[in-house]
């Protein structure tokens, strides 16, 4: 039942957003910056992303850092975050908005090793889909929070056997962030 409800909501969001395509054509491109903290299968991290939005659709791409595996400056787990947000009610002048979020994250760091180490990397890929809430503080600035679910695949390099092994599983992603839209048009909120 949970899966059916989730599928229904995702379908609803998608159709609802697509139905507004005639409005979207009139919209200008809005550029912005995302700063977010996220907690996922790979631990907790932060990201800064650049985003571009046209009407209800927003795409973001940027670097990510993880604090969970961070042990020294030379082994900083770095990666990237990319994703898509669709705001079905974008033309409503409400402070509180909801959105559909598709998110992809990648992280790489030196493979786990305590002696005779090489510079081989461990990698984790995370792909999630879910919903978020955005609260507009001003017409340029908004707070957001999202809950996503999906999967992960990790590729671990074993320094002892010199082989790479992959493991996959289910994933969760919790994200809190701030979005600043640089050239957003002034709007009034109800």
């Amino acid at each position: 039942m949970r899966t059916v409800s989730l599928c229904f909501l995702l379908l609803f969001f998608t159709i609802h957003t697509y139905a507004q395509r005639h409005i979207l054509k009139k919209q200008k491109y809005v550029y912005g910056v995302d700063v977010g903290a996220n907690f996922t299968r790979s631990g907790y991290g932060a990201n800064v992303a650049f985003n571009i939005k046209k009407g209800a659709y927003q795409y973001y791409l940027g670097p990510k850092i993880s604090f969970d595996q961070l042990t020294d400056a030379e082994n900083t787990p770095l990666g990237l975050v990319a994703g898509f947000r669709a705001y079905p009610h974008f033309f409503h002048e409400h402070r509180l908005d909801t959105y559909l979020n598709i998110d992809y994250q990648m992280l790489r760091w030196n493979s786990a090793c305590s002696r005779n180490c090489t510079d081989k990397k461990d990698l984790i890929y995370e792909y999630n889909i879910g919903f978020g809430f955005a609260y507009k503080i001003t017409y340029k600035l908004q707070l957001n929070a999202a809950i996503l679910a999906g999967g992960y695949t990790e590729s671990l390099y074993n320094e002892r056997s010199e082989k790479r092994e992959s493991f996959s599983g289910l994933n969760n992603l919790y994200r809190f962030g701030i979005i600043y839209e640089i050239n957003a048009s002034e709007r009034q909120f109800k």
Partner: protein, 294 residues
């Protein structure tokens, strides 16, 4: 009511945010000085995954003692070994499971000791976030897999002899020690299998039946551990990391006893315990422990 919201100056706030992020990053980057390791393991601290690749948590979603968790520790991270919890089923099969009751972690009910292995092996773990469902496994699966590895990973068997479901079934220690003797003999595993227990009767039986078996006595404190281990010629002792100091570890080393520490998960705790220079650590975060040692 309508509110006209205009953009507020953000420069100061963003500067503060960046400063906070930088401070957080650099606070995590400070030098981890473990010093020159002085122990009985040629200056090496072996890294052993607790229950496989660490105890089940939100960032370690594989069930403890599950096949996927053990494989991830050894094949994925290249850990020096794993610690697994061993119990004896009703029909005398050695099963890997941590808790006393099956219902606490799986979709089954009862105690391992009261159920036949055929039924136990069908039990699926509840807190399982792998794509395929993880069942309870036999010890034999682990030894069968790793007996041919070169080098062989160390397998630490934490022998659990509690049976709160039906105390009348205990004592079953003769049958338990027989099962361990047989499996060690079958896989010629005396060189890579270690046993851990605080049950002196069980350890006594094992020491008698399997000459040269490496036994770690699970002690409440270092004095008790050293006295018991010396009296019964054990390989070493295992201590709760929260109750063991660097002096305790050195004290056991003076008597030629290996020291294992368990109970560490956070970076601070792992680092604190690596500085005690034990011979091995049972960790819940293998990659972090490896990075700290590197």
């Amino acid at each position: 009511m309508e509110l006209s919201m205009k953009s507020m100056p953000l420069k100061d706030n963003l500067n503060k945010l960046w400063l906070l992020l930088l401070l957080f990053t650099f606070s995590s980057c400070k030098k981890n000085d473990i010093g020159v390791i002085n122990n009985l393991n040629s200056g090496i601290i072996d890294i052993i995954g607790h229950g496989g690749s660490g105890f089940n948590s939100i960032i370690n979603p594989l069930p403890t003692n599950s096949w996927e968790s053990i494989k991830r520790a050894i094949d994925g991270y290249g850990a020096d070994g794993v610690e697994v919890d061993v119990q004896l089923s009703k029909d005398g099969v050695l099963i890997l499971y941590h808790d006393i009751a099956l219902e606490s972690l799986t979709n089954c009910d009862g105690c391992i000791r009261n159920i036949n292995s055929g039924d136990i092996l069908n039990c699926e773990y509840d807190y399982d976030y792998s794509f395929g469902k993880q069942n309870i496994i036999k010890l034999e699966k682990v030894l069968g897999r790793f007996a041919d590895y070169k080098p062989k990973p160390s397998i630490y068997l934490d022998l659990r002899s509690d049976n709160s479901c039906d105390p009348t079934i205990s004592p079953f220690l003769t049958e338990y020690s027989d099962a361990i003797e047989q499996i060690i003999s079958r896989y010629n595993a005396n060189d890579f299998v270690y046993v851990i227990s605080n049950n002196k009767v069980l350890l006594g039986l094992l020491a008698f039946k399997i000459p040269g078996l490496k036994i770690l006595y699970s002690a409440n404190n270092v004095q008790e551990g050293v006295l018991t281990a010396l009296a019964d010629s054990y390989y070493g002792i295992i201590l709760d990391a929260n109750n063991a100091s660097k002096d305790d570890v050195s004290f056991a080393h003076k008597f030629g006893l290996r020291v294992a520490l368990f109970g560490m998960k956070s970076k601070r705790k792992i680092l604190e315990n690596l500085k005690k220079h034990p011979d091995l650590v049972q960790t819940d975060d293998i990659p972090l422990t490896m990075s700290l040692l590197n």
